[in-house]
């Protein structure tokens, strides 16, 4: 990992990014705005399955409106996050908390696929949402994982 960090840090593009003082705060702002879009969509989708929000609206409508937003936000997060990593590789790659965060993001990403399937399958079968305790727990756990991942992200700045 030290080789990777050294390679990125010594690349001309990485050096230029650190010299442009406006770049890191601006990309971080983009990262947080994308996070807002992701959290808004995730709260609605997860809480729909948990039976807390949008109870009178069809699950298929929520999936159609917010899942593309969630995927788009995730793509922006990935690109902006990679930019931040490239500018300051040591600050990111050497922290255990960063790898914990990325594992949680991957897990939340996979859970979102399953959540989409559950929401659509339930409705296709004419069953109510949430169908039971499992659906409720699923929605809450999925949201909790996004929240913890967000916290781990903020924590990168404080861990050594």
């Amino acid at each position: 990992m030290d080789h990777v960090i050294g390679f990125i840090y010594n690349s001309p593009s990485s050096g230029w990014m650190r010299l442009a003082g406006w770049l890191i705060p601006t990309v971080q702002t983009v990262h947080i705005l994308a996070l807002a879009a992701l959290m808004g969509s995730a709260v609605l989708l997860d809480m729909k399955l948990a039976g807390v929000m949008a109870r009178t609206d069809a699950g298929a409508t929520l999936v159609r409106r917010y899942l593309p937003v969630l995927w788009g936000a995730l793509a922006v997060l990935f690109v902006s996050g990679f930019t931040l990593l490239w500018a300051e590789p040591e600050r990111v790659l050497s922290k255990t908390i960063f790898w914990v965060k990325m594992s949680l993001v991957l897990l939340a990403f996979l859970l979102t696929f399953l959540l989409r399937k559950r929401l659509l399958d339930r409705e296709a079968a004419g069953e109510p949402v949430p169908a039971g305790r499992f659906d409720k727990a699923f929605g809450w756990i999925a949201l909790l994982i996004w929240i913890v991942a967000l916290g781990c992200g903020r924590w990168i700045a404080y861990s050594y």
Partner: protein, 166 residues
């Protein structure tokens, strides 16, 4: 009249000192603050984009407001509490900080913009809340709100670059 004695009193408050002395208090409060702001901005932009004419999950703006505003207010209260505690930990420093001042100004403007929407556009919501159409006044409110909140996030993030935590 000067704010200095008030700011110093806030700084010297035992709770402010406890935040400075407790190792993980500041980052934990920041996590809560960022999460709360993400939910505020995420949910407000759903309403803003709907006012601008984009579809949301609920067909009527009235129903959408009923579903989203309680979440926005809940998250906003959390953001104010966590933000207030972060402020208290270095009240004199934040009060002097340019980015912080602009951020607060933008929040006040966003609040006034919301007030104007409730008093002007929402009064006649029964007339226009049909078939996905929104009047120009509502579009203006939505657009302004979106821009102001983007500014709040931008200046808020910038505080961390112009002011060291206590």
């Amino acid at each position: 009249m000067t704010l200095e004695p008030i700011l110093t009193a806030i700084y010297d408050w035992p709770l402010s000192d406890a935040i400075r002395q407790t190792e993980y208090a500041f980052p934990l409060l920041e996590c809560i603050h960022v999460l709360a702001i993400c939910i505020v901005v995420g949910f407000i932009s759903i309403v803003d984009l709907r006012l601008l004419g984009l579809p949301a999950h609920a067909r009527s703006v009235k129903a959408l407001l009923g579903q989203t505003l309680p979440v926005v207010w809940g998250a906003f209260v959390l953001a104010v509490i966590s933000g207030g505690l972060l402020f208290a930990s270095n009240a004199t420093g934040y009060a002097k900080n340019f980015d912080f001042r602009i951020k607060i100004l933008l929040i006040v403007l966003a609040f006034l913009n919301m007030l104007a929407f409730h008093l002007i556009s929402q009064k006649r919501i029964a007339e226009w809340d049909v078939a996905g159409k929104t009047p120009p006044s509502a579009k203006l409110s939505g657009g302004l709100s979106l821009l102001l909140w983007i500014g709040v996030v931008g200046f808020g993030r910038h505080i961390g670059f112009t002011l060291a935590p206590f």
